[in-house]
Subunit: 382 residues, 2 copies
């Protein structure tokens, strides 16, 4: 049986029917008063989701485009930036900075380990003449399932005074991220993650302090010039032609999230992470990230005695579940289960059940059949 | 009666039901073999639509983002560029170039008049040491309804040797644009126009000659770096997370266009332009662009004795038809009727009928009631 695909990857994530149907409406003019009302509503919803009063700008772009906008609008050629690198996305932001002739210093950790806040503290403390203009941190590292300790790193950044720029692509809507309380200057994210809508929209939240830096920032940009978006947003408008149907989807998804409540959304992701990890342990499948640094959005597993690519292949062919593989040097070493966005507790049981069946089919014998489901079910008790 | 909106603006354009429904499918993983097949199919379809064997790269971006990518990937700071400016979009490409520190020379014409190819010939001839690296031309100027004589301008560019970069945002899929036959180096467009799909995708066709320039081009870019897209496209893949649902829409729309046939698509746009213009003349409504320079995508009308903003307001309120206003200094001076993309001959009769009724309601008496429909109907005879 085909065409009953279930997405358990960290994006695109599953999309609710009511969001798909909202998106399937006929487009409207992007300069109409009706569309302005939608811009106004979704902007308020985004502020709620980001826990902020800051401007939030909506781009037709992927998460990478949003993050690039969040970097290049606030810096000038040669500016020093400190970039946390412990996975594919941290590395990517360093590459973006280098493409724009910024002076990049990396704070690294092995893939699968969290960034060490103490390293940030030391580097920032050593920068007594405040040459470091920005610190870039990936909150949830999608490539490894690690949640970096943004709160602590940010405390050190605040003590220094640099801008803090956050890749929240797979953390926003999955874990508590109080933009205003923590004073985050730039928070970038993408629609195909916690937002529960298809890819195509990028979001950048910008603090007052970042806007001050904007006025002196000299890196070239036009389509990604956030000042244009801010000016238009002040009139509930958009500087270019926005993807209106994805805005319809965003409106529907934000309403659903507001009905569920932010605390409940976070609790759901936490619970599903716990269940997935408990199941992996019960199946003797080693978790790639330690419990203390686990992302509520995605769980990476580094199996021994069974090939992760075979697991992905069988679980797709037999049960039509898409799980993610490893990226770059982790290809063939890990597989990743996304539990982000429109994922119900039932979906976790489904995925673990299918994983158990797949392990049996592959002749992996290092577990008691049923142990994964038993552990997941226990972790899902409310 | 509400919610029976009809779009007669130059984008977003109407979207066929089968395209909307294709878009409403559940997303799939963008790294799956199923999605690779879609990338392969739509890329072939885009080459057919562009009449080219060149690479065509698909970005999550508006038409402006696509055009910016088409410019910045092939040039270096200080490079001289010649930009045709006879409307809002020509002006915008000059601004993009200036944002990236290119040396911009404008070839201007009054808004509503076409660019003069002779001016390009003279400027290019005077550049005997080949300092001009690129010539940027807006084919169909959406803000005025003017179709520039790209074919002749391009002949002069070819004689010189600079790159020719074309904004085909409202011409692609509306008028004959033989990319390979004319040797166009960069052709940029956006999804919400002739493509018959919602906004959110941008397209850039790139010639071999442009790729040669790419290898020495030094303007900074990352998200808009077309080399990344080319590398991924060679494997039927995408460098970032593409808007998969808009790809579903694109696949459905390209199939429809291929069934209709390219010549029929162009003939339809030509016929509807003729009908709209014939109706305007019969209603004594002055056309903003001359017949010889009229865009098959959009007709701008500069009425006398009746306020164009009132026409737009009444035709929207009474008949739920969205027509476009003037932009910048043309606001309140013209209104624009889009006949681009999924527009049937019936839609033209509808729009003209509603326009006549609106003129009557506004007390405009400079026409014989029914004359607009009579003229349009005559022009629509096959």
């Amino acid at each position: 049986m085909n065409n009953k695909l279930m997405l358990m990857i960290p994006g695109p994530t599953p999309v609710p029917e009511q969001v798909l149907l909202a998106m399937a409406k006929h487009p409207m003019g992007h300069r109409s008063s009706e569309f302005s009302q939608i811009i106004a509503e979704v902007t308020k919803g985004l502020q709620w989701l980001h826990q902020t009063q800051n401007d939030i700008l909506i781009l037709a772009a992927s998460g990478t485009g949003a993050m690039e906008a969040g970097i290049i609008n606030f810096l000038s050629p040669g500016d020093r930036v400190l970039v946390g690198c412990n996975g594919k996305f941290g590395d990517r932001w360093a590459e973006v900075c280098e493409a724009y002739s910024l002076t990049v210093e990396r704070v690294t950790a092995e893939w699968g380990k969290p960034l060490d806040p103490e390293q940030f503290r030391k580097r920032l403390k050593a920068d007594s003449d405040r040459q470091i203009k920005a610190v870039i941190v990936t909150h949830s590292e999608t490539s490894t399932g690690v949640l970096n300790d943004l709160e602590t790193i940010n405390r050190h950044v605040k003590a220094h005074g640099a801008l803090i720029m956050v890749d929240a692509v797979t953390s926003l809507g999955a874990v508590h991220l109080p933009t205003d309380e923590w004073g985050l200057d730039v928070v970038a994210s993408g629609s195909q993650k916690g937002y529960m809508i298809p890819p195509g929209l990028g979001f950048v939240a910008v603090s007052v302090k970042a806007w001050e830096a904007y006025s002196n920032a000299k890196l070239p940009r036009f389509y990604l010039d956030l000042g244009k978006y801010r000016k238009a947003a002040a009139k509930d408008s958009h500087p270019f032609t926005p993807p209106v149907n994805l805005f319809f989807a965003l409106q529907a998804a934000l309403r659903m999230m507001q009905t569920e409540g932010l605390e409940s959304v976070f609790a759901r992701h936490q619970r599903q992470m716990n269940a997935t990890r408990a199941a992996a342990k019960a199946l003797s499948l080693p978790l790639f990230a330690a419990d203390a640094a686990a992302s509520p959005a995605i769980t990476a597993i580094a199996p021994t005695g069974v090939d992760p690519e075979q697991i992905r292949s069988v679980v797709k062919r037999r049960f039509d579940i898409a799980m993610a593989g490893g990226q770059d040097h982790l290809k063939g070493k890990i597989f990743r289960i996304g539990h982000l966005g429109f994922v119900s507790d039932r979906d976790i049981l489904t995925a673990i059940g299918a994983l158990e069946a797949t392990l049996q089919e592959l002749g992996y014998e290092n577990f008691t059949p049923g142990a994964g489901i038993a552990a997941a079910a226990k972790a899902l008790v409310l």
